[in-house]
């Protein structure tokens, strides 16, 4: 008996890692011991992200995005990244503005949701400077599930019949048990995944409040995991509520405490979007004069040393007002 491949897409697979290789790599490169993994974000990015890596970003769009790490990647001018555009908004936009990106697996990029389209990304995709393969958000999560499970492909019931499928690497077959058509997608095992969480201990046990989106899968599927967190906590805090641990320590390579690390994104139960900041950035990217974007990047990334300087530029009043907005209370900041 045979499962005939009835149709297949032409999309390029940008991430070349296979579960079998990643498994082997894991044996040799990931410590199973409780080791102190705290380090400066600068050092973590230098150590664990290389030119040409495939990068997966935590959170969703503007929510719980690891912006401190994104800025650091841009600051270090890492090149030729392939990126999982699994609803990626300002995160991927800043990476692309910084010239770090070569290929994108697109589920949702280019758009800033209600705020409209990105000038930066339109330019880069429309002139073919950045290559792409199209998927869906479900498809990207399913690929990560396969990667996390260590299987080389996964059947799905989305994308069938569409151009989205024809521009993906998916293959249509019939189920050998029921005869129904399914789409097979290749697993996704990113080289590195960056996550911003509510809390972690120094070993890298990570807890997230609210929706997990896809961070659990990404951490499981990826080779390297770099974590920033709002709060670094004692391991006893983790042991007191182990059901909340979304990512266990042995998957994690680096941990850095970075309060406000999702700014200008929204950190549930902590702070809401910095709407103005995003609008300003978006306007810079849309400006026909490339100097305007360059100035933005200089001001907020290149000409500052790290994320703490960024926070100082923003100022405490502005930041804590975002907390008021998050908690739906009138912002009263000043004595």
């Amino acid at each position: 008996m045979e499962m005939k491949i009835l149709k297949e897409g032409s999309g390029e697979i940008f991430c070349k890692n296979t579960p079998a290789e990643v498994r082997k790599w894991t044996r040799e490169n990931k410590s199973r011991a409780l080791k102190d993994k705290r380090m400066r974000l600068k050092d973590a990015v230098k150590k664990f992200i290389k030119d040409g890596d495939y990068l997966a970003i935590g959170g969703f769009g503007h929510i719980r995005v690891p912006m401190a790490t994104i800025y650091e990647i841009v600051r270090q001018k890492i090149k030729d990244l392939s990126v999982a555009g699994h609803t990626a908004v300002q995160d991927i936009d800043v990476l692309m503005a910084g010239g770090c990106v070569k290929n994108v697996d697109i589920a949702y990029v280019v758009g800033f949701e209600l705020r409209g389209l990105s000038g930066v990304q339109r330019r880069l995709f429309e002139n073919g400077q950045v290559k792409k393969t199209d998927y869906t958000n479900g498809a990207m999560s399913y690929r990560l599930r396969a990667g996390a499970q260590g299987i080389p492909f996964i059947p799905v019931k989305v994308m069938l019949g569409t151009d989205t499928m024809m521009h993906s690497p998916g293959k249509v077959v019939k189920c050998p048990f029921t005869g129904e058509k399914v789409l097979l997608l290749p697993s996704l095992n990113p080289d590195v995944c960056i996550i911003h969480a509510h809390r972690a201990d120094m070993y890298g046990n990570v807890q997230i409040d609210g929706h997990i989106v896809k961070d659990d899968l990404q951490a499981r599927a990826s080779k390297r995991v770099i974590v920033t967190c709002e709060e670094l906590v004692d391991t006893e805090v983790i042991r007191a509520d182990p059901g909340k641990t979304v990512i266990p320590f042995y998957m994690v390579d680096a941990v850095t405490e970075h309060p406000w690390g999702s700014h200008p994104g929204n950190m549930p139960y902590k702070y809401y979007f910095d709407h103005e900041f995003t609008e300003d950035y978006l306007a810079a990217g849309r400006n026909k004069d490339p100097k305007v974007l360059k100035n933005w990047l200089d001001e907020w990334i290149y000409n500052i040393n790290d994320f703490y300087e960024y926070l100082e530029k923003l100022g405490a009043r502005r930041l804590y007002t975002l907390r008021d907005v998050e908690f739906l209370r009138p912002p009263v900041r000043g004595s």
């Binding site: 769009g61 609803t87 949702y108 958000n137 989305v158 989205t164 929204n266 979007f273």
Partner: protein, 259 residues
């Protein structure tokens, strides 16, 4: 067009809200579809289950979320989970409606939110892509579509890219391609009118015009041949209470209804 006391976007929100039955489940993004969903919940469908792609299930929405997964979408939720769990849930048959939009649509309700142009490598305009739209449109029972700026460049004979499946190339096509039975688009709400899909041909059919709009207006604005119901109705204009809810309760900051 002789609209009074309300805008077309307000009208679209009210018409869209009426498509949602109580005690059903809807998977929704943000913008006008979410406004319509919140309005339905505030009026005739208090027990409408709202599910968000990023993992929020049945929140008590305090105000309009401005991003698909922001804090508002999990405010006092009954469950916060993962994107894949939401997709699995829709696939398992729990979700009645998906609410979508797009840059282009054709007569079978196929949606393009990927690109304009005929060169995939160098599109004239690159849009965001599927996001969760293809997933929702593949997996939910009914797809409700909202399209503003109804015109022949958006309502086209052939979309430049089928991002999200409507009825693809006609009756039986979804099933032939492996999509679930008895699914597909059921309504298209535009700033001119309301369409359904004729059951035999799966083609878009005009069933109601907005007040002041004629069938001829719709035909002219549509780049493909539409079917026309035996009786084309007129949609109800928004009530005062609906307008109050839209502006005071749902979108007080004017994200969707700019002030």
């Amino acid at each position: 067009m002789s609209v009074k006391n309300y805008t077309l976007r307000e009208l679209m929100a009210c018409v869209a809200a009426k498509q949602l039955e109580d005690e059903k489940a809807v998977a929704v993004g943000t913008g006008l579809p979410l406004v319509a969903t919140m309005l339905a919940q505030q009026t005739h469908a208090p027990n409408l289950l709202i599910i968000f792609e990023a993992g929020g299930i049945a929140p008590q929405l305090p105000t309009l979320p401005i991003s698909v997964g922001d804090s508002r979408t999990i405010h006092k939720a009954l469950c916060t989970t993962t994107l894949i769990d939401i997709m699995d849930t829709i696939r398992r048959g729990y979700v009645d409606y998906a609410f979508l939009g797009g840059a282009q649509i054709d007569k079978y309700g196929n949606l393009n939110s990927t690109m304009i142009g005929d060169n995939y490598e160098k599109p004239k305009v690159r849009f965001p892509g599927s996001g969760g739209a293809n997933d929702f449109g593949s997996l939910a029972w009914e797809t409700l579509i909202i399209m503003d700026r109804h015109g022949p460049r958006r309502f086209v004979e052939k979309v430049d890219f089928i991002t999200t499946p409507g009825y693809l190339y006609g009756p039986g096509a979804r099933e032939e391609e492996g999509l679930s039975e008895n699914t597909g688009p059921s309504r298209v709400i535009t700033d001119l009118c309301l369409f359904d899909f004729e059951p035999e041909t799966k083609r878009m059919r005009l069933i109601a015009c907005h007040p002041g709009i004629t069938t001829e207006d719709v035909i002219k604005a549509t780049g493909f041949e539409i079917l026309i119901a035996d009786e084309v109705g007129t949609t109800d204009p928004p009530t005062k209470e609906e307008l109050r809810l839209l502006h005071e309760v749902i979108d007080p900051l004017g994200f969707v209804f700019k002030k």
